[in-house]
């Protein structure tokens, strides 16, 4: 499976959401994007953005101040 990483460490919301949004726009459906963040706000904001825009959070991990969200890019309309 095609897996791409996106570093959003030290960015505060909504910047990680904007980075995810802009990166996802360049990707095809089915691609998996792994996002690394330090702002705990992403745990709410990125899944909310994904729900609204038809993408899927398939995994969320938190480890000592690092939050990792794994997103599967959905079909664009």
């Amino acid at each position: 499976m095609n897996r791409i990483e996106l570093d959003c460490r030290r960015l505060l919301c909504p910047m990680p959401v904007i980075r995810v949004q802009n990166r996802v726009a360049e990707l095809e459906a089915g691609v998996v994007l792994e996002v690394y963040c330090t702002d705990p706000g992403v745990l709410n904001d990125v899944p909310a953005w994904c729900r609204i825009n038809g993408h899927k959070v398939i995994e969320t991990r938190s480890e000592s101040g690092l939050y990792v969200l794994v997103i599967e890019v959905g079909e664009s309309e």
Binding site: R10, L12, C13, P14, M15, V17, I18, Q21, D39, P40, G41, L43, N44, D45, A48, W49, R51, I52, N53
Partner: protein, 347 residues
Amino acid sequence: MNQPRKAAALISGGLDSLLAAKVMLEQGIHVEGINFYTGFCVEGHTHAIRKKDQKKPKRNNALWVAEQLGIKLHIIDIVEQYKEVVFNPKHGYGANLNPCLDCKIFMVSKALEWIKANGFDFIITGEVIGQRPMSQRKETLPVVAGESGAENLLLRPLCAKNLPETLPESAGWVDRERLFDFSGRSRKPQMALAQRYGFEDYAQPAGGCCFLTDAQYSVKLADLWKARGRKQYEMDDIMLLKVGRHLRPTPDFKLIISREEGEGNFLQGYRKQFPSLRTISHPGPLALIDGKVDDQDIELAARLIARYSQGREAEQVEVEYTATNGELRSLEVSPLKPHEIPEEWFI
């Protein structure tokens, strides 16, 4: 069957833009939201920084609104372009450094660019005549429509009946009779409409959604401009203005001193960009030095940070100074007494 007409809604995350978008959805319009990120948005940042705030549930209200409405939301980073609005607002500032009217004109003009690029038909906002003293007055609403270039493509569903007909109305895309005539500062009509639509738990920010409307924040920004001799800021500057205690002992430098653990952790991330100080012998805050300092200044800064440590009553406190290249220096200093810290140092 005809495709529905498409509107871009400016979504701030507050009630008015939520309702305006809902009114359009009720009329069968395809609505997508646009949320502009200026860097001064109250959403997010400070909640993430302060440890005591981290227990509160965090949510981005613009995303929440979009989810309630079942519409897409496009968050657009306008940090760089927005600087010109902050530095030189044609229509001036409000009570603080808030360029509300220029801000609204700018955002609507960006929305106009967006609808042209994305094949949308018109723009909607949650503006209400008389709701805000600077940008939402009977005299200023036409200024926003005119100077943004949006003209009759800008529809305000909540107060449209008080305004001249726009293209979406005259062309029959939208039924004017089913729009509203809200005016004034009262929130009651909006709250009643929210109840009718079944919206609960919507955001009601007391001081608006922009740090530039905050008096204390504006004083800090004005101090930054004065110290640098010109109106200028980078993203890190405007973030740091939201954090910690700011003291300027001399015109050449200021100290940003963390007030609690969350702020200390946040400031840690800036230790390669700014010289920093922390107390070693006693628990205490982390401080960044913004500006030019000599040895005397560093000692003064160390005495000041010692004052905010648990060693404030001690004879001597050990403070570590770290230069931006990582070089360390240890200082033994006596903490400043409260009367040795003039009121005018506090920004």
